[in-house]
């Protein structure tokens, strides 16, 4: 069914990898370089790792006749983004022993550690294994970490819905045992028979695949940015089923007009768990069979659906499922945010959402975030939930323990830090970019905090500082920081330059559009000053910034 000619080189690497093993063992043992053999650099992604290098140091090291400073990023598979306190303690210790020390909360509800050198990968993964944590399929052309609305106070059914993240993740796990053999030194137990993978076969997917679940009215998991977006339909406090949307994806390529950001298309509704899992599974098989394997820039499900046409896609899905999806049930999103500070759920348990700028958990002069989280873990009195906006919820705290946790948060400056951050800062997001991301054209997480510091005075000038405007920055157009779904999106074009996009809505249901190209900082601030000045003067009551610039046809 798929094209066999002109396969991209990655396709060859996958099919001849012997269940994602490749020559990873030999690569790890090669002493002359901190890098892996070329093909293994692709395969290691399927094991949740990326080979990276410190781009700040390239030039100087070349002069010193040293190779680039290679290290590895490991990303955990955490469906729904949940850790027990013991697991947090372990994560904290591994991060100190082997990585840069920063625990990075990602935009997909998991954590990653950077700067692990080649000889430390195995010890790190082995320690994670002791904590019952793994990184299987956290990256690569497979289903990635399944994300879910984060805050238990949203619904009494949160626990039930949350469990689906794990069910779907398990459903779409690769069957190979390579991870256990390579990283955990387990005997080769898999045979070609037991490792037979009906979902991924030997070719996996044409490209990465992302699934998200949202519990209305909060679209905190940004479901329309995903290959599959699931909306829990709740009526009379009962879970009635899920709406299924498919074909979302935000990445594009500068200068390639065949690429574009796209919101997921609503396909319909399923009422039972069995039907839900079947439909998700078969959407993946359609993408496996019809996706473009020649051009990786056109390989995501969104292009497959647009090439087939939505109706043909639905028809194929019905054939594969053996049933048709019902009409989508009505739902309404009214927000897309994290509930900072203390909140209580229906059972009376307490939750504290910490603000973590761009997901970087580390100690600074003013706030000892990382130490605070570690101290909380040592009490054993709070679980850890990551949000889809790179923040952290200290969760499931019994009323009698609230004061203990609060005292730790106060001691390390966490509460002040969370309360004092401005609305725009709390609604900001940035991808990793420099110095480790090989795709970055411009800075993102290292720069956005500074830029916001310069935007805040402008907002203050127009009395807009309390407006919850979303602003997101990505260092390239690949969309890890989901900037096309922000009211203000900044997409790196070259070092120090960004395209300015505006006009996304607040709930993640409308993409923003390019307003100005290739701006430096001064030009960005000038443009925003102008826009904010108009917004303050001419907006309707309660009109969001994104809606305002759209109503005025500014983009």
């Amino acid at each position: 069914m798929s094209e066999t000619k002109n396969l991209s080189p990655v396709e060859r690497i996958k099919t001849k990898s012997d269940g994602l093993r490749g020559s990873l063992k030999e690569s790890l043992d090669e002493p002359i370089t901190g890098a892996l053999y070329d093909d293994d650099q692709t395969l290691i992604k399927f094991h949740g790792l990326y080979q990276q290098d410190d781009r700040d140091r390239r030039e100087e090291r070349s002069l010193k006749k040293l190779e680039w400073l290679y290290s590895y990023m490991v990303r955990l598979r955490l469906p729904g983004g949940f850790l027990l306190p013991k697991q947090w303690e372990g994560l904290h210790e591994i991060s100190n022993q082997y990585s840069t020390g920063v625990i990075k909360v990602t935009t997909r509800q998991t954590v990653q550690l950077h700067g692990i050198i080649k000889s430390h990968i195995k010890p790190s993964l082995q320690q994670f294994d002791l904590l019952k944590l793994d990184a299987i399929a956290a990256c690569g052309d497979v289903n990635r970490n399944v994300i879910c609305s984060a805050h238990p106070k949203q619904s009494a059914l949160h626990e039930t819905i949350f469990a689906y993240a794990d069910k779907i993740s398990t459903l779409a796990l690769p069957k190979t045992n390579a991870y256990y053999e390579i990283w955990l030194d387990k005997e080769k137990i898999g045979s070609s028979e037991t490792e037979k993978d009906p979902l991924y076969q030997d070719r996996y997917l044409p490209r990465k695949f992302k699934i998200a679940i949202a519990i209305p009215p909060n679209n905190d998991s940004d479901i329309f940015a995903n290959d599959i977006g699931l909306i829990a339909i709740i009526k009379d406090n009962q879970l009635k089923g899920f709406n299924i949307a498919a074909g979302g994806g935000l990445s594009s390529t500068h200068g390639n007009s065949n690429t574009y950001a796209r919101l997921a298309t609503m396909l319909g509704f399923v009422a039972t768990e069995e039907q839900l899992l079947k439909a998700v599974y078969e959407i993946i098989t359609i993408q496996r069979d019809y996706g473009n394997r020649g051009d990786r820039k056109l390989a995501r499900l969104k292009y497959t659906i647009d090439t087939m046409g939505v109706d043909a896609f639905k028809k194929e899905l019905a054939i594969r499922c053996g049933f048709e999806l019902a009409e989508a049930a009505p739902y309404e999103f009214t927000e897309r945010k994290d509930y900072y500070g203390w909140h209580q759920n229906h059972e009376g348990k307490w939750y504290y959402t910490l603000f973590i700028e761009n997901g970087r958990i580390t100690d600074t002069e003013t706030t000892a975030l990382k130490t605070a989280c570690y101290e909380v873990a040592k009490t054993g009195k709070a679980n850890y939930r990551f949000t889809c906006n790179q923040n952290l919820i200290l969760a499931d705290i019994l009323p009698e323990n609230k004061a203990i946790i609060e005292a730790i948060l106060v001691q390390y400056g966490v509460i002040t830090h969370t309360n004092d951050a401005s609305a725009i800062r709390k609604n900001s997001m940035a991808c990793v970019a420099f110095n480790t991301c090989p795709l970055a054209l411009a800075e993102a997480q290292r720069y956005l905090p500074t830029l916001i510091g310069k935007i805040e005075p402008i907002l203050t000038k127009y009395e807009l500082l309390s407006e919850e405007i979303t602003i997101r920055m990505t260092g390239c157009p690949n969309g890890c920081g989901r900037s096309p779904l922000a009211e203000i999106g900044l997409i790196g074009t070259a070092y120090g330059y960004y395209n300015l996009h505006i006009g996304g809505d607040r709930n993640g249901e409308r993409l923003n559009k390019e307003y100005k190209q290739h701006l430096n900082e001064t030009q960005i601030l000038e443009a925003l000053d102008h826009l904010f000045s108009n917004y303050a003067k001419a907006r309707n009551p309660a009109e969001t910034f994104g809606n305002f610039v759209t109503r005025l046809n500014l983009v």
Binding site: I32, S62, K65, G255
Partner: protein
């Protein structure tokens, strides 16, 4: 001929004037009967971001060598730009990124080519441009290189070939075409005329050199400093791989000045000493040892100033401060007791064939503890501080006991630390001359990430099959210290096999304790592997020494 082609040809011919037909006739004749140019040496330069250009360059280099050409293969990030004036045949492989940008590694090269007055009339070149048609400025960097070289008066051997993401075929065609257009010069032409040692060889020949490059090879975080120094000379220096360079350091100017201030001596007054005549300033700077004085010098000093001075090795300045001289006459007397500055020897790290008109050194900054604290060696300090363009004087110290084996003999090199220096020369020479013997290098340092001396060069030798085995020992990357002798023991069977098959074995570097330990281990291996007594093993090694198969350059 295909019908379509022949009709196109007829169409073209039909429109041509007689003159144009004559020109076409000549042109086609030229294409058909062009004789390959005779070439002895080519340079393959690559600018890489993702590694594609580099892996092509490595393949091409192997092919060109097979053809009998001498090849210089180097990344543009490490290319010495001044060398462009010397190149006769250069083939450049360069990729394009972002908005028509060259790889970071090629930026300095591009800037150099962009100079207004650049003139390269001696150069013939061809460019292979890698790119991606999905971007608007396809292969822009390659086009730029081509245009700039043409502007500088270089001659294009064949048109730039632009490759898309599936580059292999067009790239190979490009190189095959180039290879077909040249043939290796006969050995007589190619061989560099050996410099015949002057008859009056007892007369020491001094050379003037200019510092071209001086870099610290160790990276941030290292506990060491190792300088790679390239010294350019106008005249061809008479030396062979394995020889040493001898020079005298110049004392630190600030110390000389302090001594003069302290003693009130007339800096410009000419003084005649048994071994040198010059101004006081010159003598103190260039001719006399004023640091870490010997006990006998201190005794003589004590006698002159008539003080009781403990026999602790200190600097002249310390003595002058603690036990001042009465007047400048007494100081002149002191000058008479100082030992002359002794020349220091450094094993040369370059090959006269491969590194034309240059001599390279690998100099570790010597640090040692004295009773007055940590000191640095005067000569290594002096060399490390030598700025580019500074001139120095040196002579060659011949070492006939440390010479390359016959071209087809296998070679085992054991050179931890700066012991790598002569082996860098050996490998460069063997690579350049296409010696067929196998090579095995043992080297070691403290840490892999910061101290791997000449890592990228060694990686290149490994990739181009110049280096058949490499055994690395980084002593401080794990809790137990690992040195080269541990690696030798691990490889005992293979090592002895090489020796039995006639390999030449070399040790370079620290005499104590490295060379002693290595020799012990070597004896142990010989004894165990051939099941003989210790005394017999000693005889075995002595026999190797007589056959010149065991050579040492230790200090």
């Amino acid at each position: 001929m295909q019908l379509e082609k022949s009709s196109r040809l007829k169409e073209l011919v039909h429109t041509c004037s007689k003159e144009e037909l004559i020109w076409i006739n000549g042109y086609i004749n030229g294409l058909l009967y062009e004789t390959p140019t005779s070439v002895s040496k080519v340079s393959i330069l690559y600018g890489t971001e993702t590694g594609n250009s580099k892996s092509l360059a490595l393949n091409f280099s192997t092919e060109a060598k097979k053809k009998g050409l001498r090849v210089k293969l180097i990344g543009l990030d490490q290319y010495k730009l001044q060398d462009l004036y010397k190149e006769t045949h250069a083939f450049i492989i360069i990729s394009t990124h972002g908005e028509g940008d060259p790889p970071d590694a090629a930026k300095a090269f591009m800037n150099f080519l962009g100079q207004d007055n650049l003139s390269l009339p001696q150069l013939q070149y061809s460019v292979l441009a890698l790119g991606d048609t999905a971007y608007p400025l396809f292969c822009k960097a390659g086009e730029d290189v081509d245009a700039l070289l043409e502007k500088a008066g270089a001659k294009r051997m064949s048109a730039t070939v632009k490759c898309d993401v599936d580059y292999e075929q067009s790239a190979n065609d490009w190189f095959t075409k180039i290879m077909d257009s040249m043939q290796p010069a006969t050995q007589a032409e190619a061989a560099t005329t050996p410099v015949v040692a002057s008859a009056k060889s007892h007369e020491r020949k001094y050379y003037n050199g200019i510092i071209h490059t001086n870099i610290n090879l160790n990276d941030i975080g290292s506990t060491k400093k190792t300088f790679h120094i390239e010294i350019g000379t106008e005249e061809t220096v008479d030396y062979l791989c394995g020889d040493s360079l001898a020079l005298k350091p110049v004392n630190e100017y600030s110390i000389v000045q302090k001594i003069i201030e302290l003693t009130g001596a007339d800096a410009n007054k000419t003084i005649s000493l048994p071994k040198a005549t010059g101004s006081i300033k010159d003598l103190l700077s260039n001719n006399l040892n004023i640091l870490y004085l010997s006990n006998s010098t201190i005794k003589k000093y004590a006698a002159i100033v008539q003080k009781d001075i403990p026999p602790t090795r200190v600097d002249l300045l310390d003595l002058l401060q603690q036990f001042p001289v009465n007047n400048s006459t007494q100081f002149e007397e002191i000058l008479g007791i100082l030992l002359p500055m002794a020349p220091r020897l450094y094993s040369i790290a370059s090959s006269p064939a491969a590194h034309e008109q240059e001599i390279h050194l690998t100099v570790a900054l010597d640090t040692f503890e004295t009773e007055t604290g940590e000191q640095t060696g005067n000569c290594s300090r002096y060399l490390g501080e030598l700025a580019v363009k500074k001139s120095i004087q040196f002579y060659i110290h011949k070492n006939n006991a440390f010479k390359l084996p016959p071209a087809n003999a296998a070679m085992i090199m054991i050179g931890p630390g700066t012991g790598i220096a002569p082996f860098r020369a050996f490998l460069a020479e063997r690579d350049y001359t296409g010696a067929s013997g196998k090579n095995w290098l043992f080297m070691g340092e403290r840490n892999f990430s910061s101290d791997f001396l000449y890592q990228t060069e060694i990686q290149q030798y490994q990739k181009t099959n110049m280096l058949h085995k490499i055994s690395l020992a980084f002593s401080r990357d794990q809790s137990a210290k690992i040195y080269v002798q541990h690696r030798m023991l691990e490889q005992a069977v293979e090592l002895f096999k090489w020796i039995e098959q006639g390999a030449y074995l070399y040790i370079a570097g620290a005499k104590h304790t490295m060379s002693v330990d290595v020799e012990q281990v070597l004896l142990q291996i010989i004894q165990e592997q051939s099941k003989i007594t210790n005394e017999e093993a000693i005889l075995y090694l002595q026999k190797m020494k007589q056959e010149k198969r065991y050579q040492k350059d230790v200090y």
